[in-house]
C-alpha cells in the first residue's frame, strides 16, 4: 500500500488561461469554481463547502486585496470562512497545504482550495516590478536584480558547475510548448522550434525570451474532503498521499548553493516519506518551470535524475509525453501560462485530470501516481504534493 490518503480531491476546475480581456480575478475564479461544481453533481456547494483557501500573490495588479472573501463571494460561497494565502508563485501550493491542514484537523469535512491572478492588463515593466516583490528588496531588487535575473544567476552557476547548455534549457521550452499545443486551456497552444527558442532575445543572459514563462490571467480550484467521505461525491477521487512545504532565505545570495533549491528538496523529502514512494514511482509530474533552468533543477531536486544531469534528461526527451517520466504535460508555466497565484492548484488540476484519465490528447497511459512541485520566488517557498488514483 503506497501512502495512506491524507485528503481526497473530488473535483477540480480551471479557467481558460491566457490574455483574458475584461475579466477580473474574482470573475476568473468564478469560472474555475463553476467547472468544479459541474464536475461534481453530488456536491451541494453552499451546504457542503465549509472553508475557502485562495492563493493570490499581488494586490498591485488590480488595486485589490482581501481576496479570500472576494473569491468566496464570486464563487457563491458566502458566508464561509475564506482567507488568502500568499507565498509568491507558490501561493496556491500553500493554499492546498492549508486546505489539508483544515481537513486533517477535523474542523472541516469539505473545503475549496484554489488560486487566481489577473496580470495581462498591466504593462510588462509593471508586471516585472510586481513580480520582483517576491525577491529581497534591500539587496536584490535595490541593486537591479530582476526576477529572471535571479534564475539567470542559478543558470550561470549550473552551466559552470555541470556543463549544462543553453540548448538543453531551450529543449525544455520546446517540450513544454509541444505539450501546450495539446491543451485547449493553455495560453500558448503552438509548438516552437529549437532554433526559435535559441535565437529569441536575451532577457537576462543566459536566459532568453523562450526560457521564461508567460504573463497570464487564470484561476484554478480543487474540492478536498476526508478520504472516507470521498465516495459520497465521486466514484473517481484522487487521493493526496504526501504533502511537504518548506521555506528558505528570501535573499538567494545567502544560500549555500545556487544550483538547487533547498526548500524544494526538503518539501520533496517530506512528501516522498509521507507517501511512501520513491522518485521512480512517479508516473507524471507538474513542476515549476517559471524558467527553463528551474525545470532542470526541479528534475534534480525531485530525484528524477542525479544533480547535474537535468539538462541531459531534457535533451534526451525523457520528460516528454511518451518518455520515461512525462513532465509538465499541461504545457507547464512556459506554455500553459503562469498566473502566479493560480499556478499551484492549476498543477494539481492537471494531475487530477491525468489520474482520472481525462487528459485527452496528453493522457499518460495508466498513470497511477502523480506529483506537483510549486516554487515561490527564487525558492524561499516550496510545496510538493504527491497524488494517487483510487
Amino acid at each position: 500500500m503506497k501512502g495512506k490518503p491524507l485528503v481526497s480531491i473530488v473535483s477540480a476546475g480551471l479557467s481558460k488561461f491566457g490574455k483574458i480581456e475584461g475579466l477580473y480575478a474574482r470573475e476568473l475564479f468564478a469560472e474555475a469554481a463553476k467547472e468544479a461544481y459541474e464536475r461534481c453533481p453530488n456536491l451541494n456547494p453552499k451546504k457542503d463547502i465549509q472553508a475557502l483557501f485562495v492563493g493570490h500573490m499581488g494586490e498591485s495588479y488590480e488595486h485589490q486585496g482581501h481576496t479570500g472573501a472576494t473569491a468566496a463571494d464570486w464563487a457563491g460561497l458566502l458566508h464561509i470562512p475564506a482567507i488568502r494565502t500568499e507565498g509568491a508563485c507558490a501561493s496556491s501550493g500553500a493554499a492546498l497545504r492549508a486546505g489539508i491542514y483544515a481537513v486533517l484537523s477535523g474542523l472541516c469535512d469539505v473545503v475549496m482550495v484554489g488560486g487566481v491572478e489577473k496580470m495581462t492588463h498591466r504593462t510588462t515593466p509593471e508586471v516585472t516590478e510586481f513580480l520582483a516583490m517576491a525577491s529581497d528588496y534591500p539587496f536584490e531588487q535595490w541593486h537591479g536584480i530582476t526576477f529572471p535575473g535571479l534564475f539567470a544567476l542559478m543558470a550561470t552557476a549550473h552551466m559552470h558547475k555541470y556543463g549544462t547548455t543553453e540548448k538543453q534549457m531551450a529543449m525544455v521550452a520546446v517540450k513544454n510548448h509541444y505539450h501546450g499545443s495539446l491543451n485547449p486551456k493553455a495560453h500558448m497552444q503552438k509548438e516552437v522550434t529549437l532554433e526559435t527558442a535559441l535565437s529569441s532575445r536575451v532577457i537576462a543572459w543566459p536566459l532568453k525570451l523562450y526560457d521564461c514563462s508567460l504573463i497570464t490571467d487564470g484561476a484554478s480550484c480543487l474540492i478536498l474532503t476526508k478520504p472516507e467521505l470521498a465516495k459520497k461525491y465521486t466514484d473517481t477521487p484522487v487521493h493526496i498521499v504526501g504533502s511537504g512545504q518548506a521555506s528558505d532565505t528570501i535573499g538567494m545570495y545567502e544560500r549555500e548553493e545556487f544550483t538547487s533549491l533547498k526548500a524544494a528538496k526538503l518539501a520533496a523529502k517530506k512528501a516522498y516519506e509521507m507517501a511512501n514512494v520513491k522518485p521512480e514511482d512517479i508516473d507524471v509530474a507538474e513542476v515549476h518551470d517559471c524558467f527553463t533552468i528551474a525545470e532542470i533543477i526541479a528534475y534534480e531536486d525531485l530525484g528524477f535524475c542525479k544533480p547535474g544531469e537535468g539538462g541531459h534528461l531534457a535533451e534526451k526527451g525523457e520528460t516528454k509525453l511518451g518518455g520515461r517520466i512525462p513532465i509538465n504535460t499541461s504545457g507547464g508555466l512556459k506554455a500553459k501560462g503562469h498566473p502566479v497565484g493560480a499556478t499551484g492548484t492549476a498543477q494539481a488540476y492537471e494531475i487530477y485530470l491525468q489520474l482520472t484519465e481525462q487528459a485527452e490528447k496528453r493522457q499518460v497511459k495508466d498513470a497511477e501516481i502523480g506529483l506537483t512541485h510549486n516554487v515561490g520566488g527564487s525558492g524561499a517557498t516550496a510545496a510538493v504534493h504527491i497524488y494517487r488514483r483510487e
Binding site: P138, W142, G144, P148, L153, I203, Y253
Partner: protein
C-alpha cells in the same frame, strides 16, 4: 561603535554612507550576519558586535540583465552577480568597470561604495557595486 546602535539593514547602509563596510557578529556563535539582524537565526541571541567586512572577494555567479525595471533600463545591459567576500560572507551587487564579455566566475572583485542624496525619499540606501580587484 556602541552597543546601542541597532543591528539592522538601515544601519548597514548608514554605515556604508560613512565609508564603513560592516556586518553584525553574534557574540555567542560567531556567525557574521550581512545584513546585520536583531536576532541571531542560529542561536537566538541578540548580542552582537560590529565587524569590518573584507572589501575583496570572488565572483560566484553572474548574469547580464537586458530587460530591467524602469529605473534601471537606461543602464541595460548591465551585469549583476553574487560575490563571496574573503571571510566567506556573500553579497549580491552590480559589477562595473569591466567589459561584460570579460566577466568570469571566480574573478577577484572589490567593492565600491555608492552615494545617496539625503533628500531622496525612502530608502536612503547607497547603491554599492563591484569592480575588478
Amino acid at each position: 561603535m556602541g552597543e546601542q546602535i541597532p543591528f539592522t539593514i538601515e544601519q548597514f547602509y548608514k554605515h556604508m554612507l560613512q565609508g564603513k563596510f560592516i556586518g553584525g557578529k553574534c557574540k555567542k556563535c560567531g556567525k557574521i550576519h550581512l545584513p546585520p539582524r536583531p536576532l541571531c537565526d542560529k542561536c537566538f541571541l541578540n548580542e552582537f558586535e560590529w565587524v569590518e567586512l573584507p572589501k575583496n572577494g570572488k565572483l560566484l555567479t553572474y548574469t547580464i540583465i537586458h530587460v530591467a525595471p524602469p529605473q534601471f533600463q537606461g543602464m541595460a545591459p548591465y551585469a549583476v552577480g553574487i560575490v563571496q567576500l574573503e571571510n566567506g560572507v556573500k553579497i549580491p551587487g552590480m559589477i562595473k568597470g569591466i567589459a561584460l564579455e570579460q566577466i568570469k566566475i571566480g574573478m577577484p572583485l572589490t567593492i565600491d561604495f555608492g552615494t545617496c542624496a539625503a533628500t531622496q525619499p525612502w530608502p536612503q540606501w547607497p547603491r554599492y557595486s563591484f569592480k575588478p580587484a
